[in-house]
């Protein structure tokens, strides 16, 4: 199936000389929830802003629903809704007026019935005549979502949708995003909360220092990058890791009651059988055992750290030369 968004060789260097994006290639599949994950300043917002037409790229091409975002900008932009990170609203306008304004701006004929449905869905109907300035932060964010959806786009960008949103509301937001996906909207969200990507996304792209480090199906990513931990609960605490097990990647918990074995689930031989055999030989008993997959967070930190170390190594090498 043809991707709904296709990004080719995208680059952005700001006037000040700062390079926010380097040669980014990305394809978003129709109907998926895609999470763009990265630390602050990684280039997430720049990438989104280019696709939405707010920032001009320095290099590369982007198409949305098959329309080039520069040549066929009208068609491309009609397909896209954007909820930016900053809460920017027209304080003195009513909710009803501002959402209808957005629909008109995007070239759609007025449709009060649709706007009513939208506001009800977002629990804003009771507030439709209130001035935006009188609403709470969470409601303002929902107003911005309503504005972004007012012209019935097929692609929705959510830039840090839950930044500064309390836990309860975050859950609502996630439910809402899932509901939108059900209705066929493709969703691209940026986040630096790993749990958000882990909870929501079908696929995850990790961006760091303007480079797309990887794009992967969430489960594959966790599987591929994942390390597993096997914990053995000992009936009698140990002082040190026994001599016979010293060559294995084992650590002893602080109180000596658990032996933790790290293994890579990618490798064909995880070494678990060998470990158990040796424990048996050494007469070490255990009460219980469990395994744990590393979270997306650990994967992410690993990736970003890895990239940084690589860069530093490169730098040191260059300075030495």
């Amino acid at each position: 199936m043809e991707p709904i968004i296709s990004v080719r060789g995208l680059g952005k260097t700001y006037a000040g000389g700062f390079t926010a994006l380097k040669n980014v290639d990305l394809e978003i599949r129709r109907g998926e929830i895609f999470a763009l994950l990265g630390p602050n300043g990684a280039g997430k917002t720049t990438l989104i802003s280019i696709v939405c037409g707010i920032v001009n790229p320095t290099a590369g091409r982007v198409s949305a629903s098959g329309f080039d975002i520069q040549r066929d900008y009208r068609m491309a932009r009609s397909e896209i809704g954007l909820v930016p990170q900053e809460l920017a609203t027209d304080s003195f306008e009513s909710v009803w007026a501002t959402v209808n304004f957005s629909r008109g701006l995007f070239g759609k004929a007025p449709d009060p019935a649709y706007i009513e449905k939208l506001l009800r869905q977002l629990s804003l109907w009771e507030k439709k005549d209130s001035r935006i300035m009188s609403l709470s932060g969470g409601m303002k964010r929902r107003v911005m979502i309503a504005k972004a959806l007012s012209h019935e786009p097929s692609i929705l960008f959510l830039d840090e949708p839950t930044a500064g949103v309390d836990v309860e509301l975050r859950q609502d937001m996630w439910d809402m995003v899932r509901g939108l996906r059900e209705s066929g909207v493709t969703i691209i969200l940026t986040t630096h909360y790993i749990e958000e990507a882990e909870e929501m996304a079908d696929r995850v792209g990790v961006i760091n220092r303007g480079e797309l480090v990887l794009v992967e199906d969430k489960h594959t990513l966790m599987q591929k990058m994942g390390e597993k931990e096997l914990s053995l609960h000992l009936p009698e605490p140990l002082q040190t890791v026994p001599e016979i097990l010293a060559d294995l990647p084992l650590t002893l918990s602080a109180d000596g009651s658990q032996l933790v074995y790290r293994f890579d689930i990618k490798s064909s031989d995880t070494g678990i059988a060998e470990l158990l055999r040796r424990l048996n030989d050494a007469n070490i008993d255990f009460r219980d055992l469990h395994t744990r997959e590393s979270s997306l967070e650990e994967i992410f930190v690993g990736l970003v750290k890895g990239a940084r170390q690589e860069q530093q190594a490169q730098l040191t090498k260059e300075t030495q030369e």
Binding site: R74, A76, R77, S78, L82, A88, T89, N100, G104, F106
Partner: protein, 253 residues
Amino acid sequence: MNWYGIRAIYKFEMARTWRTLMQSIASPVLSTSLYFIVFGAAIGSRMGEIDGVSYGAFIIPGLIMLSLLSESISNASFGIFFPKFSGTIYEVLSAPVSPFEIVAGYVGAAATKSIVLGVLILVTARFFVDYEILHPFWMLGFLVLTAVTFSMFGFIIGVWADDFQKLQIIPLMVITPLTFLGGAFYSINMLPELWQKITLFNPVVYLISGFRWSFYGVADVNVGISLGMTLLFLLLCMATVWWIFRTGYRIKT
């Protein structure tokens, strides 16, 4: 053409006018009335006629121009500056609207307000002095042309300004002096010879002179030159706006 888009911006801007009715309509009408009382009735009664027109009537076109210029600029500049300031500009930039449509919405609304204001001042003037309009068609033409031109100029200032002070500085430091020195309250023939020459570098002279001609058939400079200069300024503004959108100057990074 995204007509709904133009209409949305236009309606949004007009709604802002109704919200700030006192500031956008009532206050210019009040201040113009004060001018009529002070210069028209009180001082004007001691002044002779200028070019066969009573002083009270003579200042009407200049006073309308004074308000028209400052209100067009302040309305249009604020209209585009505020979304930049509050961050809501993202929506206009990400919408399927062309630069022409954006300008049509913002400048159209600002010009509409100025024209309404000009007509209101004209009606208010009736309560203080008698006047006639010799060429009503041309009068309306100059009114609309000036409102559109200076709303566009205001739009440019609004894009250029990155703080509130810059927003005020051009109307306050440039436009107001130029209007006062542009013959709003006197005929430039009343100036010493040297100043008559210097004053021809003031573009507002042409606006006021042409506008006054449409009322009383008398002008400081030829009406054709007035029209030409106004059109020239409109073209300059249009070219600048075109350049702004082509380069993304101060609205896109």
